[in-house]
């Protein structure tokens, strides 16, 4: 039997939902492990009431802000460290420290030092992500082809043209993978940040339903956000990556 990749993906997701339904049926207590038949109607009701779109929107806003800040600072630092061995020697130990700093510590410290506000929330997430982007982009910058660099200099390419046509295409795979792994890490940390100290967002709602021991709603919000992030991955990240790779498959 030859199925298209899309059909396999759909069947695989259907299998996961069936597995969840089976576990719920076996467990038999929907207060502890509600099945899809319990969660999906509640999810739909939350969407219609406007409650879920509001909180998903708040979380997405934080994800976007933290993503932009982390990518901008991480890419700049990574390029600098990859291109300048002197800078790399100075900052390498810092990078190791920040790479190994537990996310929870950074979040708690940001709330304590900056206050329970949006700046602290976005900063905490960005600080968690910057070291990883930096490390990945440093590898990309180190792998830049010196022969192409020499060619660009001999032919007197301007700095902008050189960056756009010589450097950026070489960094594209590193940028794409740090963006993809970045967004996956960031949205998980954003939920923790909201859980600990915000009054809006998916993490806040999960905290609230956790205190009420409402597993159905915890699962409804988690499911909604996973679906949103999968859509972002499929509709934005993958097409952008495919475009950057077009020359390889031409």
């Amino acid at each position: 039997m030859n199925l298209s990749p899309a059909a396999v993906r759909l069947l695989s997701i259907a299998g996961l939902i069936a597995f969840w339904a089976l576990l719920a049926a076996l467990h038999g207590n929907p207060r502890v492990l509600p099945g899809p038949a319990d969660v999906l109607p509640r999810l739909w009701a939350e969407i219609l009431s406007g409650e879920l779109p509001f909180h998903v929107g708040a979380t997405l806003g934080r994800v976007a802000a933290a993503f932009v800040v982390a990518m901008a600072i991480g890419v700049a630092l990574g390029l600098l460290m990859g291109r300048r061995p002197g800078v790399d020697r100075w900052l390498d130990a810092w990078l190791v420290v920040f790479l190994n700093m537990p996310a929870l510590v950074v979040i708690v410290l940001c709330y304590l030092w900056i206050g329970l506000n949006e700046v602290a929330a976005v900063a905490a997430v960005a600080i968690n992500k910057i070291p990883m982007v930096t490390a990945m982009m440093r590898e990309g910058a180190r792998a830049l082809d010196p022969a192409l660099d020499a060619m660009a200099r001999v032919f007197r390419m301007g700095p902008r043209a050189r960056f756009r046509h010589v450097i950026l295409p070489q960094l594209a795979p590193h940028l794409a993978s740090s963006a993809r792994s970045g967004i996956a890490l960031i949205w998980k940390i954003v939920l923790v940040v909201e859980f600990l100290g915000r009054s809006s967002g998916v993490g806040f709602k999960i905290h609230m339903f956790f205190q009420l021991f409402n597993v159905t709603m915890v699962l409804a919000y988690a499911l909604a956000f996973v679906v949103v992030m999968l859509l972002i991955e499929t509709l934005i990240m993958q097409p952008v990556e495919a475009r950057a790779r077009a020359w390889r498959t031409a």
């Binding site: 192409l148 020499a150 660009a152 007197r156 390419m157």
Partner: protein
Amino acid sequence: MSALEVEIRRKAYGDHEVLRDLRFTVAAGETLAVLGPSGSGKSTLLRILAGLDDDFEGSVRRPERVAMVFQEPTLLPWRRAIENLTLVTGVSRAQAEAALAEVGLAGRGTLYPRQLSLGQQRRLALARAFATRPELLLLDEPFVSLDARLVEEMLALTEALITATRPATVFVTHSVAEAERLASRVLRIGA
């Protein structure tokens, strides 16, 4: 007046001296072959002439328009053949198309380098070098690792383009036969 004037008193990497007391000039339309064994500093000399290495004792006076053909084609694999000329050298599309035609690549401008054969990639690199009508042309063993038929094809093409455009040319090679074919003068360096 000479297009290229070179005076290198000393070039060293740390304590290791690579070049010493080198003085020569190359006039427009003249081709100087630089012969020498591996490790004799040929590539270092070419990097200095190209302006890629300023860390030496001496001076180099070179013209404004410099082009180079490297050992490898050194193309931008993510840009089409024609963009490899327009984006890198700044020539117009029409000029780039003319340069492609000169090396027998007319109509291939929309292909990516990896869609071209190795011989065609070499010719594209040659087209890029001649597209700007350089006053100084640097050739860094451009025919190394090619089979005999391709070497002959590239030599003939290069010879024709040099005759037509008359740049001052410095041709680094370790092949005496190639040197005699292209060059009017030979400079031997190293051991």
